[in-house]
């Protein structure tokens, strides 16, 4: 229902604002133009998106995700001290993080949900510090290669769609670190 409210709100605001500013005809034309642009955008980004999904499948089958999980485990033990000795939880979390890094969103979500379910057993109904950390880390994007965005840039005529990668990595690292710091800080004062 949230989307229904957002969509209706956008349309109503545009009509009211357009009429008030005397841009009624432009608003009317924009509706049709947007529908066409949506299909063009999808077609134009299809190639890049499918190619990268293919590469990610190769990475998945060759066991890159498991290798990453093993590398990540020591770091994750520090982030989730309450579950550092719980094999099942740590396995789910490290698999979740490595799937997120590789951009395998469909694989990452069920893994993270399993970790969340296992964690909630110790404190039913209430989000423990570790569970808050898991959620905060998953709300910050850590995808190494943002394929959809690259597809959108190609669709807009970009020759070097991946030149933003260093900027994306920098922004992601700062965003995740801020989330982790905020979670650690709030956990001391929020009871």
């Amino acid at each position: 229902m949230a989307m229904a409210a957002i969509w209706t709100g956008m349309v109503v605001v545009s009509i009211l604002c357009g009429l008030a500013r005397g841009a009624g005809p432009q608003v009317a034309a924009a509706a049709m133009e947007g529908a066409g642009a949506a299909v063009e955008l999808c077609l134009a980004m299809a190639g890049v998106l499918c190619l990268w999904m293919g590469v990610m499948e190769v990475m998945r089958r060759s066991g890159l995700a498991e290798g990453l999980s093993r590398l990540l485990r020591p770091v994750l033990r520090v982030l989730y001290p309450d579950f550092a000795r719980d094999r099942e939880v740590m396995d789910s979390i490290s698999a979740n993080v490595s799937a997120n890094l590789l951009g395998l969103g469909n694989a990452a979500t069920p893994l993270g949900m399993r970790a969340a379910q296992l964690m909630s057993r110790r404190s039913p109904g209430v989000a423990s510090d570790s569970l808050c950390m898991l959620v905060v880390c998953n709300t910050a994007s850590i995808q190494l290669i943002p394929t959809t965005v690259a597809g959108v840039r190609v669709a807009a005529g970009c020759q070097t769609p991946f030149d933003i990668l260093p900027a994306v990595w920098l922004a992601s690292v700062l965003s995740v670190s801020t989330g982790i710091l905020a979670a650690r800080l709030f956990s001391r004062v929020w009871r």
Binding site: A37, M53, L134, V135, V136, V152, A156
Partner: protein
């Protein structure tokens, strides 16, 4: 350094293929299977974008986005964020496909290599649909008391937006 990033993608392609061959994975079959999954992802995006892009285009044509940018412009430019991205930042934590629509509109109308276009792309690439993720995880775990998860996640989003704008200015000086 610049050559490295231009060649990064072909190098990743070659590296992945060689590693997979060494692990005796059928590279070509995996490529085709993944690409097919890509089509189903697209199939899921198409209806959402067909619904949302008209609304985004209408908002833009009506001047509502400009009004919002003007209202928040002084604050945003003090923070080093291009005011044009205000709409993107407002919808990003709430709806992933709306954010994709708003971002795609910015990238195509300002150009993918413009300051606004690049900032929008980096913002999209370095943040997530926060409220959706929180709903899914806490829903799965049956959590009622979410404590500080929402404010901490929003701190991360805010930092992501600021960092996106700063990173683009730093790495792509005009």
């Amino acid at each position: 350094m610049e050559l490295l990033f231009t060649m990064l993608i072909p190098l990743i392609l070659a590296g992945t293929a060689l590693y997979a061959m060494a692990r005796r994975v059928d590279v070509y079959d995996a490529l085709l299977c993944g690409a097919k999954d890509g089509l189903s992802v697209l199939l899921r995006i198409v209806p959402a974008l067909v619904a949302l892009l008209p609304a985004v285009y209408m908002l833009r044509a009506s001047g509502a986005l400009e009004l919002a940018a003007e209202a928040l412009g002084p604050v945003l430019s003090a923070l080093g964020i291009p005011a044009e991205t205000v709409g993107l930042m407002l919808v990003r934590p709430v709806s992933g496909s709306t954010a994709l629509g708003v971002g795609a509109e910015l990238i195509s109308s300002y150009g993918p290599d413009s300051l606004v276009g690049r900032t929008a792309a980096v913002m999209l690439g370095s943040t997530e649909t926060t409220f959706y993720t929180i709903a899914v995880y806490f829903g799965a775990a049956g959590i009622v008391k979410t404590r500080y998860a929402v404010p901490a996640a929003l701190c991360a989003d805010l930092a992501g937006f600021l960092a996106a704008a700063w990173a683009v200015r730093l790495l792509f000086p005009a």
